[in-house]
Amino acid sequence: MTRVSTLVKQALAGLRLLLVLTVVTGVLYPAGVWAVSRLPGLHDNAEAVNTTLVGVAREGDGWFHLRPSAATLPASGGSNKSQVNPDYDRVVADRRTEVARREGVAEDRVPQDAVTASASGLDPHISPAYADLQVPRVARERGLSERWVRKLVAEHTSRRGLGFVGEVTVNVTALNRALTDGG
């Protein structure tokens, strides 16, 4: 009986403290972070204005294509398919055939990122190899020189920070926007 009454007493004290901490950590804390995010240098990051952080598919041969996506917009998500899933093996094989046909190359030249889905389904990046594969088609469709498109790809290829932080990737969202600006 004393245990029960102690528990009730503790729970009531807990409820009062929870409400106070809710104000502090659930209202004041995010409000503080939000207020700082309104600073001119941070505002556009915070609101993702013209963001190139995410990639969404653009239909048509005049664009650089992203990796396959398993996301159902506006939500994010991956395929969650295992590496020993025969059904998914066939999906990946079909994608490889499709990309090879679209770019007019042999299937063994199709890089792996072209046929696998990212975890978010919003990955804006592709490998330099996959970008390279797409250059002739994009140049042809847009009536641009391959050299110029290749230069554009190079401009949107990121290097590793300090030489070791991150991976070498091409940002397709930024690259496609640059295509329309330049073309």
Binding site: A46, R67, L73, R160, E167
Partner: protein, 537 residues
């Protein structure tokens, strides 16, 4: 390869830089006797006397009572979401999901059976989920500190005041660090918006007040993201730098707590030896996951190119070794041994280095077990830190250690034979069993990551995983506090020639061996049928 090693090295260096000052800061937070003006005002408002110290049983009832009202509050908040602002018509959360989610966030698990972008509005995210990200972490810290006091104090039945420990952990450790790093994350590109979505090239991508949640989600080893893809979502984790910042946040408290511990017991080497064991196992499993992923069939499936295999393996290892459960890649798409490594980290019982507070108290309990085993071998009553480990102490430690495997194996065992389960699996065969095992390991260890191909929205999974989360959290906590109570009541045993030193490599080997042995003896059959079988296909 070397770029990835250099990234891991940079992370370790950053942790080494803050280890001493931050670890000692945490020790001062829990050792000081005076209260700040803000804290005094809070104690007055909530009507608790900060000067009164509690017995272990009162302390435990405080933890349980506080968590129970937390579950109730969070459940209700979700159930009335449609009345709250920023709900974007997502409606009241379904009862099963609300039940599971309330327990999930209060137990520091942050298992998410829902798709946040379609289910949770910003009000519930902030006023409900963010709050529990703070206070569930502060509860873990408080319990760890109570156990450390059990070792430090002599002949007393008092372990401290739970309300004071909870308030201090929140206001003096979690809040300032989370605020500072939320701003750092903003600079790296993490978003902070109260809109429901943002237009990108003709389509809409969901938006959220991300940065504030992201910082505490990692710092408190919580793991519950504002987006379905969690830290794989570019708005939560935009680049390799933000990835390193988030990894740092995940590790900084569990790692530095070994310093806090050493400082509080008056012998820093006692903490270093724990860190050595934690670091060795963390590194070994990282090597396993990384090697397995680098040689996988489809290494890039479920991974973001900006992180690559190296950044994904580093994150997967860290998030599962710390009970965080945030993910920057889809663990379900990992190779047999890669996903198996993540699973193994959880099966170790989350102590390499484990979650905020939970990691420290878990490895201290394992140290008690290791010393007990050593005592059996030489036929002496075991001691640890000058306290005798008798029947009461070893019983409490054993109860704490056995709770997780028991609820995990019972839950997974039932799930594996239910007729409804095959329909919930995302993949067949050995990998399907791994999905079940992973879910129950994640819930029972309060991790929260998933092999997300498993559809966990059915009644059985919502209910049983909720129960596993609660038992996996509170049975060990009560046992740990009971252990602390009986340690504090003892006098200090003098060091003699027969005392096994607990600062050297012999003890480190015993402790690391105990961690691996307990997991191996319990889980080898399950692992053989899941990840190991898959690796042999």
């Amino acid at each position: 390869m070397w770029a990835g090693v250099a990234q891991a090295a940079l992370l370790v260096v950053a942790l080494a830089v803050v280890y001493r000052p931050f670890g000692d800061h945490m020790a001062r937070v829990y050792q000081r006797t005076e209260h700040s003006a803000v804290e005094r005002a809070i104690y007055q408002v909530v009507r608790v006397d900060p000067g009164t110290e509690q017995k272990w049983s009162t302390y435990a009832l405080g933890v349980v009572g506080f968590s129970a009202v937390g579950v109730g509050f969070l459940y209700l908040l979700q159930r009335v979401q449609s009345w709250l602002p920023f709900d974007f018509g997502r409606g009241n959360v379904e009862p099963g999901t609300a039940f599971n989610t309330a327990i999930s966030f209060v137990t520091n698990t942050n298992w998410q059976s829902y798709v946040p972008e379609n289910t949770m509005g910003h009000s519930v995210q902030l006023v409900g989920l963010t709050v529990q990200n703070f206070v569930s972490a502060a509860v873990g810290l408080a319990v760890a500190m109570a156990l450390v006091r059990g070792f430090v104090r002599v002949k007393t039945d008092r372990l401290g005041n739970f309300w004071v420990d909870l308030t201090r952990g929140t206001l003096r450790i979690l809040l300032p660090v989370a605020f500072a790093f939320a701003l750092v994350l903003l600079v790296t590109g993490v978003t902070m918006s109260f809109k429901s979505g943002v237009a990108v090239d003709g389509q809409t991508v969901a938006q959220a007040p991300t940065a504030s949640q992201e910082a505490i989600k990692e710092l408190g080893t919580n793991g519950g993201g504002v987006f379905n893809a969690n830290s794989a979502h570019p708005f939560e984790n935009p680049n390799a730098w933000s990835n390193l910042v988030e990894l740092f946040l995940i590790l900084v408290i569990p790692v530095s707590l070994t310093r806090t511990f050493g400082t509080m017991v008056g012998e820093r080497r006692q903490g270093y030896v724990l860190l050595g064991v934690m670091g060795t196992l963390w590194t070994a499993v990282l090597a396993l996951i990384w090697a397995a992923e680098a040689s996988g069939v489809r290494p890039l499936e479920g991974k973001e190119l900006r992180f690559g295999v190296a950044g994904s393996a580093l994150f997967a290892n860290t998030t599962t070794a710390t009970s965080t459960g945030a993910v920057n890649s889809a663990h379900d798409s990992f190779s047999g041994l890669g996903g198996g490594g993540a699973l193994l980290n959880m099966l170790f019982g989350e102590m390499t280095p484990g979650g905020v507070g939970t990691g420290l108290y878990s490895i201290l309990v394992m140290a008690v077990i290791a010393m007990f085993l050593a005592g059996l071998m030489v036929g002496r009553t075991p001691e640890y830190l000058g306290k005798k480990l008798g029947r009461r102490e070893v019983t409490a430690a054993a109860l704490s250690i056995l709770a997780m495997p028991t609820v995990l194996l019972v839950g997974a065992g039932i799930a594996a034979v239910l007729p409804s389960t095959p329909g919930a699996l995302g993949n067949d065969g050995a990998h399907g069993l791994s999905e079940i095992l992973y879910a129950y390991a994640s819930a029972s260890n309060n991790n929260g990551s998933a092999f997300a191909g498993l559809t966990a929205t059915g009644d059985w999974f919502q209910a049983s995983l909720g129960v596993c989360m609660a038992l996996g959290r509170f049975v060990p906590i009560i046992a740990v506090l009971a252990l602390a109570g009986s340690l504090a009541a003892q006098r200090r045993a003098p060091v003699t020639a027969g005392t096994l030193p607990t600062t050297g490599p012999l003890f480190a080997g015993l402790l690391g061996g105990a961690v691996v042995l307990v997991a191996a003896l319990t889980f080898v059959p399950a692992l053989a049928l899941g990840p190991i079988a898959e690796a042999m296909l």
